[in-house]
């Protein structure tokens, strides 16, 4: 049954409904594959028993005609989502032994839609990183390799485990979260579709917070249709999250019907960054050609404040994180390292419990919020953020969607940018502005680099217009015919 794990969610769904396949078989195939793919380190916690029990329950519902959107589909859950009764770590030592007594809204929605949990996917610690190398549970390996080179590559981050699992066929899809590119960049590095929805589309309740005003949950899948199916199940208004938006959830799969004739897509001139490899530029041109072929019209646009996006992000995100992570103090749950006083206990617990990148961002965040620096850093960054959002508002007067590359490079080797946080942060140069503006963005696999690594194209939509993103992404997907599989995956 080696081919079972190659099915897309849509294919498996149809086979399950037609009773050609049971969720038990499908899930077992994934559990078996997980056993053979341990070197990827894609999962922090595997839950095969739970998966098989959920699969059997799904089979029962399928037998009685159940047609829930994801009935019987095995998924990986980024270990940032709290799952009731299953260890939830955020890939941090500080959450040692934390088993939530509650279920995040997004995962609860998925289980309601019949999905099956295979396990908790690895990630950068507290979702801080672009390479999945900051996890307390060790780095995740990208299933892809450069031609003729077996050096392990990063899967991207922070949702590196999610992406590696889906690429390696040890999950049909995965939940992920995106604060500055953490869904789209790993999707791009692993040859997958990754969608960051509009801020407020999915509930943040029960997701370990990194930067509250930027965090948003979304799916990583192998096809655009699968992403549409998953988002439909994940999204929705939640009264428990004040920033979730009370809007009905459209049928995203329906959005794939129809064409893009006459649609205007913007090409922002500011996204031609210095030192961008020629093959990325070439891929972008290819994307423009594909959309033109499908009847859409390219429009030159300007997003003049783009160059301020990264510095702005690296003030706002750490500022919020420094406050969000204050609750990890050793008092109520997780790790506690003894100290002779309360302050000593805090210092010992947080010093040992947080990794280097998390400590760096907590320090940066604390600094930019401090008396005397607040105006110069945090307040100014908030003003810049408003200007960046306005850039997009202005751009959407001229176009319906924006096309850019997802990342300025393909996946790099583990350890390659480890000494230079700035070089690492540059990975997110195209994705970060989207989070700052709260807009939806999707990465679609569009080709391979000269070294044989996947490259993604990035579409940015209007707020709450995920439907246009899916439709245009579908066009790119059809044109790109991306069928390459990671060399480490058999079959």
């Amino acid at each position: 049954m080696a081919t079972l794990i190659d099915l897309t969610i849509a294919e498996a769904r149809d086979a399950l409904r037609q009773r050609k396949l049971s969720s038990r078989e499908l899930t077992q195939a994934h559990v078996d594959a997980m056993g053979k793919a341990k070197t990827l380190n894609a999962y922090i916690t595997e839950t095969p028993d739970k998966a098989l029990a959920m699969a059997e329950a799904s089979d029962g519902r399928l037998k009685s005609g159940g047609t829930a959107a994801l009935e019987g589909i095995p998924l990986a859950i980024k270990d940032l989502f709290c799952t009731q009764g299953t260890l939830t770590t955020a890939a941090s030592h500080i959450l040692d032994g934390f088993t939530p007594p509650y279920e995040s809204t997004v995962t609860a929605n998925l289980w309601k839609a019949g999905a099956v949990m295979l396990g908790k996917a690895n990630l950068d610690e507290f979702a801080m990183g672009s390479s999945n190398t900051t996890s307390y549970y060790g780095p995740v390996h990208n299933p892809w390799r450069r031609h003729g080179d077996n050096k392990p590559l990063v899967p991207g981050g922070s949702s590196g485990g999610s992406a590696a699992a889906v690429a390696a066929r040890i999950a049909m899809g995965a939940t992920a979260t995106d604060t500055g590119g953490s869904i789209r960049q790993p999707a791009s590095f692993c040859g997958l579709v990754g969608l960051k929805p509009t801020y407020g589309r999915c509930s943040r309740w029960g997701i370990v917070a990194f930067a509250s005003s930027l965090d948003q949950a979304g799916p990583i899948t192998r096809t655009v249709r699968d992403a549409a199916i998953m988002l439909g199940a994940m999204a929705g208004h939640d009264e428990k999250d004040s920033t979730s938006v009370p809007r009905p959830v459209p049928d995203y799969e329906n959005a794939l019907i129809g064409n893009i004739k006459g649609l205007k897509f913007g090409i922002p001139k500011e996204y031609r960054v210095d030192g961008m490899p020629a093959e990325i530029e070439k891929l972008w041109q290819q994307g423009i050609a594909w959309l033109k072929d499908a009847g859409a019209e390219p429009v030159d646009i300007s997003l003049p404040h783009t160059k301020y996006a990264l510095p702005c992000y690296y003030i706002i995100a750490p500022a919020e994180a420094s406050s969000n992570l204050a609750r990890y103090d050793g008092v109520r749950f997780g790790l506690r390292v003894h100290g002779e006083s309360l302050d000593a206990m805090y210092e010992n617990t947080r010093g040992e419990g947080f990794g280097e990148e998390v400590r760096r961002r907590v320090l940066i965040g604390t600094y930019v919020l401090s008396a005397g620096y607040y105006d110069a850093y945090y307040l100014k960054a908030q003003r810049v953020r408003a200007l960046i959002a306005r850039d997009f508002t202005d751009a959407y007067k001229k176009c319906d969607v924006i096309l850019t590359p997802t990342t300025p490079s393909a996946a790099f080797a583990i350890g390659e940018k480890a000494d230079d946080p700035i070089a690492m942060y540059l990975n997110d140069v195209f994705t970060v502005p989207v989070n700052l503006a709260g807009l939806p963005g999707i990465s679609v696999p569009a080709g391979l680099s000269a070294e044989g690594l996947p490259l993604g194209l990035h579409l940015i939509g209007r707020a709450f217009d995920e439907e246009t993103l899916f439709r245009v992404a579908g066009v790119i997907e059809n044109a790109a015919k991306f069928t390459a599989k990671p060399p480490t995956v058999g079959g």
């Binding site: 989502f81 005003s213 500022a319 406050s323 609750r327 103090d329 749950f333 401090s370 945090y378």
Partner: protein
Amino acid sequence: MLIEGKTGNWEIVIGLEVHAQVISNAKLFSGAATAFGAEPNTQVSFVDAAFPGMLPVINRFCVEQAVKTGLGLGAQINLVSVFDRKNYFYADLPSGYQISQYTRPIVGKGQLTVDLADGTSREIGITRLHLEQDAGKSLHDQHATKTYVDLNRSGVALMEIVSEPDLRSPEEAGAYLRKLRAILRYLGTCDGNMEEGSMRCDANVSVRKQGTTAYGTRCEIKNVNSVRFVMQAIEYEARRQVEVIEDGGTIDQETRLFDTQRGVTRTMRSKEHAHDYRYFPDPDLLPLVLDGKWVDGLKANLPELPDAKKQRFVRDYKLTPADADVLVAEKNVCEYFELVAKDRDAKLAANWVISELFAVLNKQGLDISDSPVSASSLGGLLDLIENATISGRIAKDVFALMLETGKEAAAIVEEKGLKQVTDIGAIEKAVDAVIAANADKVAQIKGGNVKLVGWFVGQVMKSTGGKANPGIVNDILKIKLGS
């Protein structure tokens, strides 16, 4: 009030910050309950305990309570306000930050009138009122080496009400607190119970030479838990500051604690150790936007507040301002009084509540809500006076019996035969008897000594055991004596 120092007179400048716990069944950002005195950690949601991924959701009722309070203080209601995070580490602050309002509070400038003992009043400015969460409680006295944490209070809604530095004496500060507490109780937005900690006060105190206008360096006295202690703490602190300055020292801006045992303030935290709270807007909460019409609706349905009640009592009931002040100071006194005064002689009701009832309550150390004589029972007694069943003098005896026995006035009057004699025939008989026995005095009256009529009234009352209606006795005597 001025402090006489060695170098001249000093003026005290006081501003008060009051933390008033909002009356609400649920916390400010979680659905957990808020009842006082529950077993530790039984009223805690995962939000209050700051578990990973938990998010705050504003409690609409707490917002309504804050707006009502703002309206009660005649203050500006800000239709857009923002919740900020105040960051600091402590074991009873689970999230490591308190959600508060910093730059954009829900209520802006207002004012409050304080009434002073000499009959004068002063307007005290209110700077702002904002909503914030309370922290939990650290219990240091449960174990020799450990601190226990009770999170029942964590997340309970507080209103922080900040005054301008307009107060000039401990007396004014006390009057401000009592007036504020009365308003909160009238509005039903805070129970004002300082002993249980549902109203707490921080006092900012500085001194300056009489006639100068620049403010001196202030000290903040934290968390004082009774009106009396606030007044004592201010008095002590002001005198301490004068002494320090006159001895050539300077006042350090610092946070101080009031030691209620010794009646002194002492340093808690110096300015160098002041927290940097790193305030920033809470990204988990959208700005709080109020509908102007909703606010207008609350305003229209606001209950009558102490100042308005006082005016009405003086205007409609013809009470003296001093009596009205006494009656409106406490909501439950006022409610009691209005029940007694309803459809009765209000001045009579006021006299009875203020002199007779208060004397008993003071003596027995009771609150009016625990009064041994209910408002309707007291009203029943006043009815007997008003319809001339008993005289005012007998009424006092009846009142004493009511306290003693718990019986209604009418029953006591009936039982003891205290009913006033209004039977003209019977009174005439008594009058005739007194006249017959005092022919000499009758002669004197006829001779022009009209004052003696009063003596005859007294004699008749005496012979009837005080039960004769004095008005009728008077009328009959006048006829019989031809005066």
